[in-house]
């Protein structure tokens, strides 16, 4: 290796380390601030480590946020499962049972994932109030299932497009119908598709805010994002609490990302339609 090349290597690593540090700065601040007692939080020492560790922030934040975390879980789990199941079925139809006009319908479905949800928010709010699903978890879950359909359908459709049609035809020869083929041929090889979709939907619904704040604000069914924004938006906040709350709100999706990152990235890249 020449000196020039060695120097280039050094520059590459230096740039990477500096950028990584920049990306980690917010994480450092959150953790450090969350572990300081309110009287230790002083703007002159924001970057210092806590003098005495103060894990009480987390107990207090837990007390404040536990119900909201429960709300988030009881929203996210059913909504994720339902939208994944519907997406799988839709993807199967749209890849293996295409009919005249199905591509246009698919395009019309996809448009639904790009719209600004503000453009449906007022009628949605009215409609949910009329059918008594405003201000509760089932209503919010329903909304997430419906507006999650385009992306789950898209991911499954692209996934099933890779399944050789001969496999389907062979099963058809053996006398299997629509459901038989789905159950015995398609579903058993759908696991990776389900992992991608479930992780994606879990992250999206957990992190979502616009529907949550419009449809549950002020009720006891606020998910964690709404509760955190209420706390952080207040004027004279003790900053250790929102920071501990932010960690709690971030942890579920962060853990999923750390352990199942490559599936997360696949979902991420699927969002650009062609997949």
């Amino acid at each position: 290796m020449t000196t020039q090349k060695r120097f280039n290597r050094f520059l590459i690593y230096a740039a990477l380390v500096i950028l990584a540090a920049v990306f980690l700065v917010p994480a450092y601040t959150v953790v450090v601030t969350s572990l300081k007692s309110p009287d230790q939080i002083n703007q002159n020492t924001v970057w210092n480590l806590p003098e005495t560790w103060y894990p009480q922030s987390f107990f207090e934040a837990w007390e404040a946020f536990a119900p909201n975390l429960m709300n988030s879980f009881s929203l996210v789990i059913p909504a994720t499962i339902l939208s994944a199941m519907l997406g799988s079925l839709n993807g199967y139809v749209l890849s293996k049972w295409t009919f005249r006009g199905s591509n246009v319908l698919f395009g019309l479905m996809l448009f639904g994932m790009f719209i600004p949800y503000q453009s449906i928010l007022i009628p949605l709010f009215q409609f949910l109030r009329r059918i008594d699903l405003y201000g509760n978890i089932p209503g919010l879950a329903l909304v997430h299932v419906i507006y999650g359909l385009p992306i789950t359908t898209l991911i499954f459709r692209n996934y099933y497009a890779e399944v050789p049609t001969e496999m389907i035809e062979a099963a058809g020869m053996d006398g299997a119908g629509f459901f038989g083929i789905y159950w015995y041929v398609v579903l058993p090889i759908s696991m990776p598709g389900f992992v991608v979709v479930i992780i994606w939907q879990f992250t999206q619904i957990w992190n979502e805010f616009l529907f949550a704040v419009t449809l549950t604000s002020g009720t006891k069914y606020e998910p964690i994002t709404v509760a955190l924004s209420n706390l952080a938006g207040g004027r004279a906040v003790q900053w250790n609490l929102p920071m501990a709350g932010a960690i709690m709100a971030a942890l579920p999706t962060l853990l999923v990302y750390l352990f199942l990152g490559r599936f997360f990235i696949r979902g991420l890249l699927a969002g650009s339609v062609k997949g």
Binding site: Q43, N90, F114, S119, V213, A232, L269
Partner: protein
């Protein structure tokens, strides 16, 4: 697209359509039906929670007010904010994402760990990001304290509370400005099409561009009635902090897209270029970058539509009632759900929808069409 037709019965085909229909009906109502409903509401004078009060049809009056009415100056600044935000957010994500992807592609050690670090913000909620960055942009602490760590004076940047505005223009000149942008853009497009031998496209672009120019020069643009009084709008400096936070969150996404693109370019192609005597830098410049152009376009569209809808980050970082950092996404929410001005909120929402649709519809049509031609 493979299509299974072999021994399928028409009964099975019918079942397939039936299984798809619940989703189609739901999306039909919740997307298209509700958009239609919003469009209708935006053309009424609906205010207040009582829904039975007599609501009158007022046509495009709400839109006229938003773009020219004296009282709706906040919407116009929100629109300008959103456009500046979108521009710098996209630019930041593309440049940083590309840089990160190229660095990571250098056959480095700990590649997985670096990728993990650059992408983790993507897994967080904008609410978490906003909470944290609001703390970092505290005028007397956070980022401003960083120089003090090595003994320098702390910074005095006001970040989110800055009230200054740069690059201002008079809203009354907007028609002229748009005409200039259209003429220049179409001129460039005509030139590019001409160079690529697409004569017709070039002629059409040049023709429309000349029309815009003529409209401008003959005074058509100046004659358009906008606001009654001169009204300055521009880039609010307070947006810089919000843009930094958004770029921090989303540049990992462009990195992942570019990295997937770079890895998709065969090593053979690079090797061939090396054999021809190209340096690593030249390989990037002449082999890899040109092949990444379609990815840049996809990334711009995805980032652009996220940015045109941006809501949560601004809501939690700057507050929903902050006129300086307002964007249509937040203004629609406060107008409709805090002030109960539903008609006006619906009109803002429709403007947002049109902006997003202009970006998304051509993209959807071309990517679905090209897929089926394969």
């Amino acid at each position: 697209m493979a299509r299974f037709s072999g021994s399928s019965t028409s009964r099975d085909r019918l079942i397939a359509m039936l299984m798809l229909s619940p989703s189609l009906v739901l999306l039909g109502i919740f997307v298209y039906g509700f958009i239609g409903r919003t469009a209708y509401s935006s053309m009424t004078d609906w205010e207040g929670m009582a829904e039975i009060v007599d609501i009158e049809f007022v046509g495009l009056e709400n839109y006229r007010r938003l773009f020219t009415g004296l009282l709706e100056v906040r919407f116009r600044q929100a629109l300008v904010n959103n456009l500046f935000f979108t521009m710098f957010f996209m630019l930041g994500c593309l440049v940083l994402g590309m840089g990160l992807a190229v660095l990571i592609d250098q056959g480095i050690r700990f590649e997985g760990s670096f990728r993990l670090i650059f992408l983790y913000p993507m897994s967080l909620s904008f609410i978490v990001t906003g909470t944290v960055w609001r703390w970092l942009f505290n005028p007397v602490g956070g980022i401003n304290r960083l120089p003090a760590l090595i003994g320098l004076e702390p910074l005095k940047v006001r970040w989110l509370t800055d009230r200054s505005q740069i690059w201002t223009f008079n809203w009354q000149n907007l028609p002229q400005i748009l005409a200039v942008i259209a003429a220049v853009g179409l001129g460039l497009s005509a030139y590019r099409n001409w160079r690529r031998g697409r004569t017709w496209a070039a002629v059409i672009a040049a023709g429309v561009g000349l029309l815009a120019l003529a409209w401008l020069l003959l005074g058509g643009a100046a004659a358009v009635q906008t606001t009654e009084y001169p009204e300055d709008h521009g880039f609010n400096v307070a947006l810089v902090g919000l843009i930094i936070a958004a770029v921090w969150q989303m540049s990992g996404y462009t990195m992942a897209m570019y990295l997937a693109g770079i890895r998709g370019i065969s090593e053979e192609l690079r090797e061939a270029a090396r054999v021809d005597g190209a340096s690593e830098l030249q390989i990037y410049r002449h082999v890899i970058l040109p092949m990444l152009q379609p990815i840049t376009l996809s990334a711009m569209i995805v980032l652009g539509h996220i940015s045109l809808k941006i809501f949560d980050l601004i809501f939690v970082m700057a507050g929903p009632d902050n006129a300086t950092t307002d964007v249509p996404g937040v203004l629609m929410f406060t107008t409709a759900f805090r002030a109960n001005q539903f008609a006006k909120g619906a009109a803002i929402a429709m403007v947002m929808l049109i902006m997003v649709a202009v970006v998304i519809v051509p993209y959807l049509v071309t990517s679905l069409r090209s897929e089926y031609e394969l």
